[in-house]
């Protein structure tokens, strides 16, 4: 198993100036941003297909689909309005003709190579807006890995660094969704994957199901059980049962969740980035395909990580999972 736990975010770099592109890549590396250099010809394919982007860093001179500058920004914004655009301009051109207020509404911020601190400030204020304690991140990963391992056996699991995503695209065909709720957080967890990968895991005896149980309802049950175990594991590990400051009977707010199947798009009504973990489950037996699992947390209703610190100290007292406690 390989894991990393620093929180990052993936950003497309779109620049026709090789020196600037290189400098921005270096900037990304030291600022927890994964910079993905994109070919201008394939920009809109990338925007269509990527399910885990944080934003776009682009220059005012780069061209794609015969568009450039403001026209290209408008096209990107129209296609993916949730993605913040960090717009690079030449210092001289900014001084000569500042960007219009109308145009500024389409972008997260403008910067020039002479002032990368401005880019850092814009990225921080659009992507790294929420504080996630590292102990929580590690705990979420541990609980999730245990849940995946108990449902998909004889596998190695690779885990990318957790990252923040602004896009709202759904990966694969299969998605589970469960409310996450405690005294210090309220929101949802989604897990997304591809049906054929789970079917092959069932067929090859890697799950608790019979190898003939490949109907989609059984496929759903594998994902559901993984989801359920993670939900329960996180609740047990991070719940603060001693906290009686909240009234459980009090009415709780909700917001509608909208799903557009045609565009494979889901919205939780918040502009905050989603916390994403990507697991690559690789069967030990050679020749079997890997299973990609995308896990996303959206704490859209409440998030008080300071209270997490209070409950973290009591987690050691909990009974180990798998053990029988006789009454």
């Amino acid at each position: 198993m390989t894991t990393e736990s620093d929180i990052k975010s993936k950003v497309i770099i779109l620049d026709d100036n090789t020196l600037a592109e290189e400098a921005i890549s270096n900037f990304c590396e030291v600022n927890s941003v994964i910079g993905l250099k994109a070919k201008t010809a394939s920009l809109f394919d990338i925007l269509d297909g990527n399910t885990d982007l944080g934003g776009i860093i682009m220059s005012s001179t780069v061209a794609s689909n015969e568009m450039q500058g403001e026209e290209l920004v408008k096209a990107i914004h129209y296609k993916r309005p949730e993605l913040p655009i960090f717009y690079r301009c030449e210092k001289s051109s900014l001084e000569e003709s500042p960007l219009s207020e109308t145009f500024k509404r389409l972008i997260a911020g403008e910067f020039c190579m002479e002032n990368l601190d401005k880019l850092k400030a814009d990225i921080d204020s659009h992507l790294f807006t929420t504080y996630y304690p590292m102990a929580l991140i590690r705990g979420m990963q541990e609980v999730s890995l245990e849940a995946i391992r108990s449902n998909i056996r004889d596998c190695e699991i690779e885990v990318d660094s957790p990252y923040l995503v602004k896009d709202r695209l759904i990966f694969g065909e299969l998605m589970s969704l469960i409310p996450m709720e405690s005294t210090w957080y309220r929101g949802y967890m989604m897990i997304q994957t591809t049906e054929s990968e789970i079917i092959q895991a069932i067929e090859n005896g890697l799950t608790p199901l019979d190898i003939n149980d490949t109907d989609f309802r059984f496929v759903n049950s594998v994902l559901n059980e993984i989801t359920n175990l993670i939900w329960g594991g996180i609740k047990n590990r991070f719940a603060n049962y001693d906290d009686d400051s909240t009234d459980e009977q009090a009415p709780k707010t909700q917001v509608p969740i909208s799903v557009n199947h045609h565009h494979k798009y889901i919205s939780f009504g918040t502009e905050e980035p989603q916390l994403c973990f990507h697991y690559k489950v690789k069967p030990k037996k050679e020749g079997l395909p890997s299973i990609e699992l995308y896990q996303k947390f959206i704490f859209n209703l409440s998030w008080y990580p300071d209270n997490f610190l209070n409950c973290d100290s009591v987690t050691e007292e909990l009974v180990e999972s798998g053990e029988l406690e006789f009454f």
Partner: protein
């Protein structure tokens, strides 16, 4: 006539627990939720043990346990909860309903078989 009833809305859990127990010589029946579990308990007087999830649609496992106790009394079937829940308040509710044991998922087959042998013999 089954010795053990496994109640869980997850097909993977039903399949796995039933598989462990069957391969250890027990006869096992399954139910998808508390409502079906209650119906099967009512109609099978030979049941020795129920292994049930807590969070299920239609009727949760603790409500099922409370109904079984109120209808059949404490001397009949043993109940173990197999669940992701470890909230002490839920455990207290289980104890009050005569639940004999609590296992937090994910589980291992040996623990389940050991518990079953202790309660069923």
């Amino acid at each position: 006539m089954a010795q053990i009833l496994v109640v869980d809305d997850s097909a993977t859990v039903r399949n796995e627990v039933a598989g462990f127990l069957s391969s250890n010589g027990f006869t096992v029946e399954t139910a998808n939720d508390g409502k079906e579990g209650l119906d099967k308990t009512r109609s099978d007087s030979g049941l020795k043990l129920i292994i049930s999830d807590v969070n299920m649609p239609n009727m949760d496992g603790l409500t099922m346990a409370e109904k079984i106790r109120s209808e059949l009394g404490n001397q009949t079937v043993n109940i173990i909860m197999l669940t992701t829940e470890s909230d002490p308040r839920m455990k207290e509710r289980g104890k009050a309903a005569g639940v004999k044991g609590w296992i937090v998922k994910p589980f291992n087959g040996a623990a389940i078989v050991g518990a079953v042998k202790k309660l069923v013999g």
